[in-house]
């Protein structure tokens, strides 16, 4: 049977655009503009979901996304809020959390055994006998959760945008719209956001005082202003420091940075609490109004309005005009109401009963709807119904009103101090942070004309805050009865009087929680789970506070509130990911690596080849690495080292500056020489090492490790300015490409491009020269990190690829092979060199790494010197050594971080280990006790399998090679 009404002037639906969709296998008709729930309700479908715990049938409660009674899935998205999502043609929907469909849900038996499942039952049951726990865990996991994840969810990037404005207004109700106009009239830029499909807030369903014509005027005025950007179907997800508010739409997130913020977000209608207040057909008064005025749907055929404030009288008139047979208005207040609407209702034969309540709702067959209500006299102070006299009324619906809770989440997140106003029975802002303003119902202003003024007042305050001098606006204090009731709860011995509909929490759950000692608001929340469901307490937190206050016999303000955290509504993770900007750095030779099978890996921000597996090559990565390393040992290899940090230090005090920052001496270093530059932190811990090349008396070229280049440059910049020495720094890391050619044929290859005498006598290790290679100005160094003969070239990045290619070509006859970072690791290990940050950690000092030769303690000052003086006084407790495993060792190869075991105690650990194809032995570096530092010492390593593997300390693998 259709519940669609005749054309409503305010309706959001377009009757010229009908279509159909499917719900629970049933075809349903709708109009464009309908939400899923409104279309279903219009078609007489009342069961929109099953509750989380007890699987009770549910229908419309708030119709505002303040509850999740109607949570549906289309097979892809499990978080469809049917109450507010516009329905589209051919949607195929089912309710989440059912076994066998929403009507026949087999889990509804849980409602019958609910006495066995009191609040917190899962903390007490299931843990013994322990052997049954896996069984229960499996059952509970299947039962918990709302919907099934579809692992084929497509990746649809939703790019994030940034926006900027003078004033951001949350909520386009009468207060927000009035504020927007005030601000725009003064020439400032406004963004105003509303989560509903259309602007207007309660003006679109609360028709008192010619609301709809006021709305039309406001919207018209808004359109005249170019500096107002109105965004509907968008919610403000949270408040972040300095007025950053992400606005979430289906298309993605816009991060709005405002200079001032006005929160005009309104209030959530709160339910009165009585037995079976959750049956389909029982709904908030404002939900009934939304159904009528936005979607032209009749909320129910025949029913009552139960109210604990004056709002119910308005709702009753709306229901009557929609053709509902309103049997009575039940006013829970002892004094009832002086509302002028009572006379109108009397004219329409609607009875009004004060000091009465709905004691319980009687369910229809299978508990799928309402069949009767039971009315009793009600003592509002004791919250008790007088059950001696019960009036039963047959009906199919109840509209209920008890008051409002402010939608103040963003205000709380911004640091607003709220206070409880007993006249309004609502929390209102008491102290707002700078630049944040509140207006309208969220600010405790309820009367329509005052709400418009409150918007203008907030706008004036915001503009004055921004430095634009405007006149202040006066707003009248609230007069008349409280819009919210202090305690709209009807006790019932059989319970099922729901407070939180998301989590199926009833009044006795709070009483039981308090009995167990969980009687403070934070504990109460977590033990009962009130406010922890998908609506995060929008319809339940206020009642929970009221109930706890009564249990504790304390005023509401002494109970406090729990923390409202972002996001205001659940926000898709894809939205939070956005497009995802993940910068990477590429060297000048990247193209060559790709063309030649480089296995590109992220080394921090850089992309580097770990090894090369060119097309047609059938080697494993390890085999390729070994082959590359052997090429360096027997012929020649070339590696792209462009990622090294490179810093130019220039000025009369360049050498003095280096002596101040690094551990070594540089003042007397000759031009054409380089020395190792080791960097310590103030605690004396090794941080980085590189080479300091003296190119001119007042010009040094410094290298750093790849990982630390940005950090070292930053440090040097700060230190250079603090120490007052005359020095200038330049970060050339990206400006220069670099490559190393290593191996017996290295010198021959380079000689084809350079006239420098590369003989070991003429150009020993420690030499650097500015020269030309292939007609490009570059730096040439003789190095010994990966091999005994190796040369490093630094040159302008733009020439990198060309020079590399020329060297590759010239090197072919010599067997030149490119090698990657895996081979480089192995080669330096074969040379016995440790890597800072790999073989050393955040506590390693130079004494533990045999780095004394690099430390000039006799200098006046260097970073870390004072700490080394202190450390030197203490005995060494570990030391780095090179080691080799026995040639006949059996057992699983140990890994880095495997422990050195001495007499059953931990005595150290492995920091590097690898099989060397050149030496045909397993070599590595380890921390061992100082007494084991001499070559020949033996120690045991415990591998992952638990076996002890014997190792011998060696001076260095190169010594091993020579003795072999």
């Amino acid at each position: 049977m259709s519940s669609r009404l005749i054309n409503q002037p305010t309706e959001w639906i377009d009757r010229d655009k009908p279509f159909s969709f499917t719900y629970e296998g049933q075809k349903v008709t709708a109009f464009e503009g309908d939400t899923i729930s409104s279309a279903l309700w219009a078609n007489g479908i009342r069961v929109l979901g099953r509750s989380f715990k007890y699987h009770r049938a549910r229908g419309i409660l708030t119709l505002a996304n303040h509850d999740v009674n109607a949570l549906m899935t289309d097979g892809l998205d499990t978080n469809i809020r049917a109450d507010v999502l516009p329905v589209q043609a051919d949607m195929t929907l089912t309710a989440v959390n059912t076994t066998g469909g929403v009507l026949k849900d087999r889990s509804q038996f849980i409602d019958k055994i609910s006495p066995l499942l009191p609040v917190g039952f899962y903390y007490k049951a299931f843990h013994t006998p322990r052997r049954f726990f896996p069984f229960w865990e499996d059952k509970i996991r299947k039962a918990a959760g709302l919907g099934e994840v579809n692992f084929n969810y497509p990746r649809i990037p939703k790019p994030k945008q940034h926006a900027h404005c003078d004033v951001l207004i949350i909520g386009a109700g009468i207060s927000g719209l009035s504020a927007a106009l005030s601000v725009a009239e003064q020439g400032l830029s406004v963004i105003i956001v509303d989560e509903n499909a259309k602007a207007g807030g309660s003006l679109t369903y609360d028709m008192a005082d010619q609301a709809s014509s006021q709305l039309a005027e406001l919207l018209n005025a808004i359109e005249q202003h170019d500096n107002i950007r109105l965004i509907t179907n968008a919610y403000a997800a949270g408040y972040y420091a300095d007025h950053l508010v992400p606005i979430v739409e289906t298309s993605g997130i816009t991060k709005v940075r405002a200079k001032a913020l006005i929160v005009a977000s309104g209030a959530f209608e709160q339910p009165p609490v009585f037995r079976n207040n959750d049956l389909p057909g029982v709904m908030m008064g404002s939900a009934a109004q939304r159904l009528i005025y936005r979607y032209a749907v009749k909320p129910f055929e025949k029913g009552v309005v139960v109210t604990a404030n004056d709002y119910g009288y308005r709702t009753a008139l709306d229901l009557v005009s929609a053709g509902v047979d309103v049997l009575a208005v039940i006013d829970m207040r002892r004094e009832g109401s002086r509302s002028p609407l009572i006379d109108e209702l009397k004219d329409k034969q609607v009875a009004v009963h004060k000091a009465s309540c709905v004691y319980e709702v009687i369910a229809s067959k299978h508990k799928l709807g309402v069949s009767e209500v039971v009315i009793c006299a009600y003592d509002e102070l004791m919250a008790e119904a007088d059950t001696k006299n019960k009036i039963r009324l047959k009906c199919d619906g109840v509209a209920m009103s008890a008051g409002w809770a402010p939608a103040a989440a963003l205000l709380y997140q911004a640091g607003t101090k709220m206070r409880f106003d007993s006249g309004l029975q609502q929390f209102v802002p008491a102290e707002l942070p700078e630049g944040v303003f509140a207006a309208g119902k969220v600010n405790g202003v309820f009367e329509l004309s005052q709400r418009a003024l409150d918007g203008q007042r907030a706008a004036a305050e915001a503009m004055n805050y921004l430095g634009k001098s405007v006149a202040t606006v006066e707003v009248k204090q609230h007069q008349g009865t409280s819009p919210s009731h202090a305690y709209p709860v009807v006790n019932h011995p059989k319970g099922k009087n729901f407070v939180d509909f998301d989590e199926d929490i009833q009044v006795k759950d709070f009483i039981n929680a308090a009995k167990e000692g969980f009687d403070n608001i934070e504990l109460m929340k977590r033990f009962t789970t009130v406010g922890m469901g998908p609506s995060q307490g929008k319809h339940s937190n206020m009642n929970a506070i009221r109930i706890l206050a009564r249990i504790r016999d304390l005023p509401v303000e002494k109970i406090g509130t729990t923390t409202a955290r972002p996001f205001f509504h659940p926000t898709p993770i894809g939205h939070l990911g956005g497009r995802g900007f993940h910068p990477h750095r590429y060297t000048a030779m990247h193209e060559w690596h790709i063309e030649n099978g480089g296995q590109m890996t992220a080394a921090g921000l850089w992309m580097r080849p770990a090894c090369y597996l060119p097309e047609g090559c059938h080697l494993t990565a390890q085999q390729a690495t070994h082959q590359e390393a052997m090429a360096v040992r027997t012929k020649a290899g070339i590696i792209d080292n462009s990622t090294l940090g490179k810093i130019e230090v220039y000025g009369p005090d360049a050498a003095a500056f280096l002596e101040r920052v690094y551990t070594g001496k540089f003042v007397r270093q000759k031009v054409g020489q380089y020395r190792i530059a080791m960097l310590l932190d103030e605690a004396g811990v090794m941080v980085d090492d590189g080479l300091a090349c003296r190119l001119e008396e007042d010009r040094f070229y410094l290298t750093t490790s790849t990982t630390n280049s940005a950090m070292v440059y930053r440090q040097l910049q700060r230190e250079a300015q603090l120490c007052g020495l005359s020095v200038s720094l330049a970060n050339l890391t990206g400006a220069k490409a670099a490559m190393t050619i290593a191996g017996p044929a290295a010198a021959e290859i380079i000689s084809q491009f350079s006239s420098v005498d590369l003989a070991a006598t003429a150009f020993p290790t420690g030499s650097v020269v500015e020269t030309q290679i292939a007609d490009i100005e570059c730096l040439l160094l003789r190095v010994a990190f990966v091999a005994e003969q190796a040369f490093e070239i630094h040159l302008p990045a733009a020439a990198g690829l060309s020079v590399w290619s020329q060297l590759m070509q010239a090197g072919q006859p010599f067997g030149l092979q490119a090698y990657g970072t895996d081979a480089q690791r192995l080669l330096r290990l074969e040379m016995g060199h440790h890597l800072i940050g790999h073989d050393t950690d955040g506590l390693t000092n130079p004494f533990e790494a045999h780095a004394e030769p690099l430390i000039a303690m006799d200098k006046t000052f260097f970073t870390g010197q004072r700490s080394l003086q202190i450390i030197a006084k203490k005995p060494l407790n570990k030391t780095l050594v090179n080691f080799v495993l026995d040639s006949n060792c059996v057992g699983e190869l140990p890994n880095e971080c495997n422990l050195v075991i001495d007499n059953g105690d931990i005595a150290g650990r492995i920091t590097s280990i690898a099989f060397s194809p050149y030496l045909q032995r397993v070599i590595g570096i380890a921390f061992v006790p100082p007494e084991k530092h001499l070559p020949g010492s033996r120690f045991d390593i415990r591998n992952d399998a638990g076996d002890l593997i014997a190792a011998t300390v060696i001076q260095s693998p190169t010594e091993l090679a020579k003795s072999a």
Binding site: A241, D242, R257, R714, R718, L729, R866, S867, I870
Partner: protein, 88 residues
């Protein structure tokens, strides 16, 4: 996210900056005791209130000081150290 004012480049989101630690004056290493030096290296002030902090604006390489209230997270001022007015 927070905004921070670089003294040279103006107000920017915090993501453009790198934190450089608490601003502390080094004691004279030649005359201080081992205990005084260890306290300087390892201890930091945890007391709530205004702290002087080093901050670095990454796109421009600018080092500056921010005075920040660690309870309210409000930065009262940012400035270049006088000897650091010329960037290096």
């Amino acid at each position: 996210m927070k905004l921070l004012q670089c003294p040279v480049n103006g107000i920017r989101p915090l993501s453009e900056f790198s934190y450089g630690g608490e601003f502390r004056t080094m004691p004279d290493p030649d005359s201080c005791t081992d205990q005084q030096w260890a306290a300087y290296v390892h201890y930091r002030s945890g007391a709530p209130g205004y702290k002087k902090e080093w901050w670095y604006h990454m796109p421009s390489g600018t080092w500056f000081i921010a005075e920040r209230n660690t309870i309210t997270d409000k930065v009262s001022r940012t400035y270049l150290l006088p000897k650091m007015e010329v960037a290096v």
